[in-house]
Amino acid sequence: MSTKPESGAATRAPGPALLVGLGAVVLLTCYIVAFLMSEDESVVAGLIVAAGVAVLGAYVLGLLQQLRAAYRDHERLMHAAILLGILVVAWVFREDHFTLLMLTTAMLYMTACLGLNIQLGYTGVLNFAGASFFGVGCYTAAVLGSETAIPPLLILPIGGVMAALVGSILVIPVLRTRGHYAAVVTIAFAVLFRTFLQVNDALGGPQGLSVPQMSLFGWGFNSNIEVGDFYASFYMNYYLLALLLLIGAFALTRRVERSWVGLSMDATRIDELAASCFGITPSRWKITAFMLGNFMIGVAGALLGMMISFIAPANFTFADSLIFLSIVLLGGMGSVWGIALASVIVVLLPEKLQMIQEYRFLLFSALVILVLLFRPNGLLPRGRRAYFPDWRPR
C-alpha cells in the first residue's frame, strides 16, 4: 500500500533553483526601474532588445526551467519577493506622477483581465464587452460619488455589483448560445452600450462625466502625501489601493482555479456534454463566472474612474474591449502571470515608446495575430493545476 502523501510544510529544501528565482525577481525589478526611468526612446528600444536577448539566453541555458521550479516549489517566497519588488518600484518613483499613474493603470487593467480570465480562460464564456463593464464601474463611481454621500471605499464594490447586475441582462442569451452566436451577444452589447452612453445626456452624453476622488476615512486621495520631509505623489494613494485590489483579485482567482469550482469550470469549457454526465451543471458555472468576472471588472473600473477623474463614452468602445481580450490572449488563456506580463506590455510599452503611441492599436493587433499563429497558448502558458502548492504526494 502506498505511503500517505507528504503534506503540510514539507517543501523542497532551498537550492539553486530558488537562487535563480530570487535573482530573476531582483533583475526584473532593476530592469523595470531602468525601463521606467529612461526618457530617450532609443534607450527604451535598446532595453527591449536586451530583454529579448536575456530571455533567449535564459532559455538556452536552461534557466527558465529553474525559474519554473523555483516558483513551483517555493511559491510563497517568490510571491513575497515579487511583492517586495513592486513596493521597491513604487518607492523609487514615489514623486513621479506620470509613472505612478501608468503603473496603477496597468494594475487595474490586470485586475479587470483577471475577471475576464475567469470567464473566458476558465469557463469558456465569451465576453467581448469587457470595456463596457469596466465603464459601468466608472460611471457608477461618477454618479454615486457626485450625487450621494456613500463612502468612496464602498463605491468600489458597488461598482462591481452594478457591473454584475448589468451583465445579468445578458445571462439568458449568453447561456443559450455557443461559439459564434455567443460572440454576437456580447459584441452587440458592447456597441449598444457605447451608443447608449453617447446619446444619454443624463450620463453626460459624449462629453462624459467627472468622477470625484477616492477618499479613505477623510483622507482625500487627490492630495499629495507630505509628512515632514517625506513627499510622495498623490497617485501613490491610488497605487497602493490598486495593489491591494490586485492582490485580492489574484488570490481570489488562484483559489477559484485551485478548487473543485475551478475544475468544474474547466470541464464546462472543455466538454460540456461529458461534464453534464458527471453532474456538472454548465449553466451554473457560466453564470458564476460571468457574474464574478464582471464584478471584478466593475471594481477595477470604479477605482480607475476615481483616479483619472474624468470619463467619457469614447473610453469604452468595442475596440477597448478588444484590448482587454488581447491581454488575456497574449498572456495565455487561464494564465495569471501571462496576464500580468501582457498587461504591463500593453499599458507601459506605448507610453514609453512615444513614437509608437500612434501605432498602438496596429502593433498590438499584429502581435496578437502572431501569437495566435505561432504561440497560441500565449507568452506564459497556463501551468498545471496545483491544488495546494506545498502538497507533494508521491
Binding site: D266, C277, P393
Partner: protein, 257 residues
C-alpha cells in the same frame, strides 16, 4: 426480484428515423448485461436516452424504483448511473487526477464560498480524493498511478480508456454503462481491462454493468445475460450461447439467406 433498471417501451425518434423502437429492457442488481447488435441498431442511442442526453420520444425507465424518464444528465448521474463514451471524452489538457475527480462531482463540496475560503476542508477532500483516485487507477495500470498529475493528452488511447473508466467508477455508481470499452485494444489488453473491472466490482460491491461490445469474446466471458438489438428493437435475449445461436441474431449480423 424487481429489476434495478426497468425500461419499458423506450422510444427515440430523430425526425423520420426511429432509433429506439419500443425497447423493453431489464437489468437485475449485480448482473453484467451485454448489449450487442449490428452498427446502427440503437445501442449507443439507448445509453444516450437513458443518461438524459436525448429526450424520450416514448416509454419510461425506472432505476431502483425511482422514475428516471426524461431526467437531466446531472440527475441521472446523481441517481447512481455513470458511463463511458464510445469516442473517448476526457479533458485532454487536464491531469489524470483532475479527470478522475470530475467523475467524483457529487461527493465533493461544490459551494463557491467553501472552495474559496474553507481551504483546510478543501485540502482534506483533495488529499482523500487523491488517495482514492490513485488506488483506483493503480488497479488498472500501476504506471499511471505514479503520473497522476500528467496531462491526459500525453497518454496513448488505451491508457485514456482506462482513465475514463476510473472517472466513471470513482463516484461508486450503482450502474455502470460501458460503451465499447475495448475499442482499439488488443485481446490481451481487453482481457486485462475486463479483469480489472471485475476486480473493482468485487471491491465496490453491488455494481451492475451494461456493456456495449462488438468483441464477442468479451461478451461471452464476462456477461451473465445478453440483449440483442436491431433497428432499435430487441430481437433476442438470453445467455450469450443462446443468443449467438439464435437465427434472427445471425440474420441481423450476416444478412438473410
Amino acid at each position: 426480484m424487481t429489476a434495478l433498471l426497468d425500461c419499458k417501451q423506450m422510444t427515440r425518434r430523430f425526425g423520420g428515423l426511429v432509433a429506439l423502437d419500443g425497447l423493453d429492457l431489464q437489468v437485475h442488481g449485480g448482473d453484467i448485461l451485454g448489449l450487442i447488435g449490428p452498427n446502427g441498431s440503437g445501442k449507443t442511442t439507448f445509453f444516450n436516452v437513458l443518461t438524459g442526453i436525448y429526450g424520450y420520444s416514448g416509454g419510461t425507465a425506472a432505476f431502483d424504483g425511482q422514475e428516471i424518464t426524461n431526467l437531466s444528465p446531472q440527475a441521472v448521474y446523481r441517481a447512481g448511473i455513470a458511463r463511458t463514451f464510445q469516442r473517448s471524452r476526457l479533458c485532454l489538457p487536464l491531469s489524470i487526477f483532475d479527470n478522475v475527480m470530475i467523475g467524483n462531482h457529487k461527493r465533493l463540496d461544490q459551494g463557491l464560498w467553501n472552495n474559496i475560503f474553507a481551504r483546510k476542508r478543501l485540502r482534506q477532500e483533495v488529499e482523500s480524493g487523491f488517495d482514492e483516485a490513485r488506488e483506483l487507477v493503480r488497479i488498472f495500470e500501476p504506471r499511471l498511478a505514479d503520473q497522476m498529475f500528467e496531462p491526459v493528452a500525453n497518454f496513448p488511447m488505451i491508457d485514456r480508456r482506462r482513465i475514463e473508466i476510473c472517472r466513471a467508477l470513482i463516484s461508486h455508481p450503482r450502474l455502470l454503462l460501458l460503451d465499447e470499452p475495448s475499442a482499439g485494444m488488443t485481446h490481451e489488453e481487453t482481457r486485462e481491462l475486463m479483469d480489472d473491472i471485475l476486480q473493482v466490482r468485487e471491491r465496490i460491491g453491488g455494481l451492475t454493468i451494461i456493456i456495449i461490445e462488438h468483441e464477442m469474446g468479451v461478451i461471452e466471458r464476462v456477461t451473465d445475460h445478453c440483449v440483442v438489438l436491431n433497428f432499435g428493437q430487441k430481437i433476442a435475449e438470453g445467455s450469450y450461447r443462446e443468443v449467438s445461436s439464435d437465427r434472427h441474431v445471425q440474420e441481423a449480423y450476416l444478412g438473410a439467406e
